[in-house]
Symmetry: D2
Subunit: 337 residues, 4 copies
């Protein structure tokens, strides 16, 4: 950590900062420039709240030299983390495909879709039972009934199951049915929920918030890991920018960035990342070409009648074609699907 002092910082102010650092068990090293002094602090600063220093008199700003997360950082864990669940693993050479409807709507709907995505090569079945909706007047999901159907379909077709968790009090309920908890973009900084998930030992797929920086994604991962649950999978799903033609701007460059900063696996969600069916396949190919460890994709047998997010769901045939293209692309970069 480097503390940059103001032009007019007094010797007494500088001394007080140095003392604070020493009190935290850090070694101190000062460099006096012509206009400003800077103070370097050596030691483990991960758990130091930098804002404690920012409000001290005479301080201009603080620069972190090390990332503010430690468990999620590649600096302390060079090898890729491979997350295992139910016979599958993510973060290794194989690119994992999670697919299914946006929301579970009925047994017939779910089983039809599950069958087709399994045949095309998906290994994890997705489907929402509790839906976060921007309008209070929209369909809010089937609840536990949806989770049961999801588990049945997963068992029937030999797939793992992932579903979104909205609320800490639902953890036990979801844990009965799903193999992976999905934390949605709007809950990425619901720290209460993250803390409760940190006490479980099931994998958590953590979606990037719409305005979350890459550092904040990894800080949210750190929250879950700091409680003992190391099974975190990051997920890029589009950020909010000035561009409104696409529902979000899918930040494909976050994929190599997170791979570099962290040992955690990262998957991409081209369905929510674009919100437009015609863009899903191009962005799915792009994500894999850029190094994603997996994809989570919405597929619907009858998107015209889907109760949620139909316009961004692939038809089963489109999904099958995409899987064929992805086989070649993974091969181009030394991976498989």
């Amino acid at each position: 950590m480097v503390i940059i002092m103001k032009n007019d910082a007094t010797p007494k102010q500088i001394e007080e900062i140095e003392q604070k650092l020493v009190d935290l068990g850090l070694k101190v090293h000062r460099i006096d420039g012509d206009i400003r002094s800077i103070i370097g602090a050596i030691g483990d600063t991960t758990k130091v709240d930098k804002r404690i220093f920012e409000h001290s008199d005479g301080v201009l700003r603080i620069v972190r030299i090390m990332e503010p997360y430690k468990l999620a950082s590649r600096s302390f864990h060079e090898d890729n983390s491979v997350i295992k669940f139910d016979g599958t693993e993510i973060g290794g050479d194989k690119v994992i495909i999670m697919a299914g409807p946006c929301a579970v709507e009925s047994e017939e709907q779910l089983f039809t879709i599950a069958k087709s995505v399994k045949e095309a090569g998906a290994t994890v079945l997705r489907g929402g039972a509790f839906k976060p909706r921007t309008s209070p007047y929209s369909f809010q999901g089937m609840g536990e009934e949806g989770l049961k159907l999801l588990r049945q379909a997963g068992d029937e077709f030999g797939m793992s199951v992932i579903s979104e968790i909205l609320e800490a009090t639902h953890i036990d309920l979801l844990a009965k049915y799903v193999d992976i908890f999905q934390v949605g973009a709007r809950n990425m900084q619901n720290f209460w929920l993250l803390r409760e998930l940190s006490k479980t030992n099931k994998p958590v797929l953590l979606k990037r918030g719409m305005s979350a920086t890459i550092e904040e994604v990894l800080m949210a991962a750190e929250y879950i890991m700091s409680g003992g649950n190391y099974h975190v999978i990051c997920c890029e799903r589009g950020i909010r920018t000035f561009e409104t033609y696409t529902r979000n701007t899918m930040d494909i460059s976050a994929i190599p960035a997170i791979k570099k900063l962290s040992h955690l696996p990262i998957v991409a969600d081209p369905s929510h990342g674009t919100g437009i069916r015609a863009h899903v396949a191009p962005m799915a190919r792009a994500a894999v070409a850029a190094g994603a460890d997996g994809l989570i994709i919405e597929v619907h047998n009858d998107p015209d009648r889907a109760v949620s997010d139909g316009p961004q769901s692939l038809f089963p045939d489109q999904f099958k074609n995409l899987m064929e293209e992805l086989k070649v692309i993974t091969w181009a970069i030394g991976r498989s699907i």
Copy 2:
């Protein structure tokens, strides 16, 4: 609602859309342009999920003519809503000032600050008991003990009390102590929490999410109102933009915008909106000059030793000076403080 059809939409596709609209009880009116047809739907479309139409074959995009919220809209409620609590009212001519420390830290700290802000003219005491923190290693708040102190200080100095709620299961606990629930920016789209708050009858101060559009703020307000709790106060507290010199970009223009679109009161939070002490007073003045119905400001007697957000807290003297300036500014625009 207007549905814009694709260039190559077939008569059958157009007919299907028209039928869907009729089935929803809407009247239909088509305009055929040289290249594209558009279909106007007349009737109450507030509760229509526009995405149901977006995924129909032949549809290019949907344009809403009316806002997707109704209870929060000024179109259906011309006069300003005035929210009353505990002898105070917000949304009328008087600009209401809420002030206090970021986090409650001790009885001495809280009472010292409460006394000074009350003397300067604040009528509501703020203070965090449950703190959402981006790092799992930071101070998380005093919990119920903090709420008790807040209530005691409020009673001692004749102030109403506001504190942040992080989690739906805490509603009963907070309700015992506070006059206003504060929903933080990171929870603005925690729909589970909003729905539970809609069942209470206490005022809710709803902070704008860091990447929430003005429409989304009003949709979140609609969530709370749709359950029967009409006592919603919006709060601008800075949005995330490319500019990193300030912690957030405080969107002062959201103040006249929300006043125009909605009858709900809007307050501004220049402390979180800027994150920089030296900017708090200029932005507080700007917010009031732009028409804000109130301010929520962090004040600390000893910001250097504050455990949370010290760098953006005003000193009591700065707060007092600001109040003097605000008296003149409110007078310039025909209000008072």
Copy 3:
């Protein structure tokens, strides 16, 4: 074009709008909703300045049904435009690779790099002679001397040549040496320059501005086309968002979006799009996987000594490896390189 009237618009205001539309030769069609009226205008509205209506009394807002550009729109030109220059063509099945140093620095540097990128499969040589630099104290380019070297290297290795134009008065100078004019991101809305380029007949590679919407990119293309120069190649090179880890956020989803809205070819610039060498290859692969018609990439034989943008330049070996990967990826999507 649809004009949405305010809730309280008077019959007289509505009539005035209708008259204005009729005066412009448009047909008028009104729909009266319960709260608001809307007026549809039928006919060619491309050249109508919608702001003329926005400031009329009683108008709430304007919605365009057709894009505000016509020459660049796929609505009026279904087939892909294929731009030809000097034996090469872009916009067809073949993906075109433009490569070279950020800035021309010397004959030796340029010829070494040109030789290696040509051998690896590039067909167009890039290199800056006039450099736009954010600091007045940075290297500003070799000027005409650089252009001469570029032309010589192009001729020597059988490559077309592209270089950036900063200023309308340079058009004749650059025209002597280059095959393609490159308009940089900061000049995308330098309308004076665009208008002068519209009078030439050389291809223009138009880089997306850092905060330009997709619609604005196509409006800038329309500027060039409206003067008679139809040879426009769009280029995605990263937009400015809140994320600061990468220099820009490369908007890969703009690639399928522009292909859908326009018949013009689109290439991607992963060097400026990321600013980080390690991200260039993943993003180059992603762009091609998403459907880009070409790439423009910085390669330097000795990036450590490059006078401009070294950190984002690939080493010749990295470029060669990338070309091998791209061969497989283009094959996966039915194209070639």
Copy 4:
């Protein structure tokens, strides 16, 4: 300047960096942390291109301790710069109001508006003669004829005159008529234009680019100053964010920020900053309350018939009322108008 080395930087790489710094005449000071080393460079680094170091092997990233601009920085010039022109001065206690139509349209229009804004208290007359328009089909301005009218109206009513310059070759033309050159948002990084303006000695009002950081605004000011023209006035006019309800998001907090970082005056443009007439007065008041040294406002006697930007122009009466409010607000903060 501090250079942060990668975790795995070798002693040789560190040594090479240190040597490069010494070669630039800087003193070097290294701090070895447990994981990373950092190298501090002491001396004048304003003119050092930090990217030269970023591409050296072993370097993680560079942190500037001093701003990359020097002439514009308050670190080297503590007192406010007061820019004088034609009897007026900006940057002192008095808040300066520039007002007039968006575009000069006719003698009658201009003289009517000039008279009314002068009477209300404006001292500078604004009006566009060369207009940058996003559509090639929109009105492009009256050219020199407009400049002449502007000068005549200025002389008639005793006002200084400001107009926008689009192109370096127009400098001599505009210099004949205007007292202040206005550089529009889209040209803020037209470095060619900035360099040519640096050779004049007339004040330049430099509008912030739509996606320009505060640092970039001051770097653009540095461009003009580095050539010898120190008469630069910054102008906040709204930035592009995800919010689309307002045309731009006016960044009021940039006003105190620029005042703190730089000695240059800053004015605000609430007309372009909001694009909505009803928001102009609230944002004008907010800008002055936040410390702006001036305002530039569009006023039109007949906005319904304005050929450009009518919807954001105030009516003369609205402008007059605003001036009354501003008198009180400037008084609240110890200034005058």
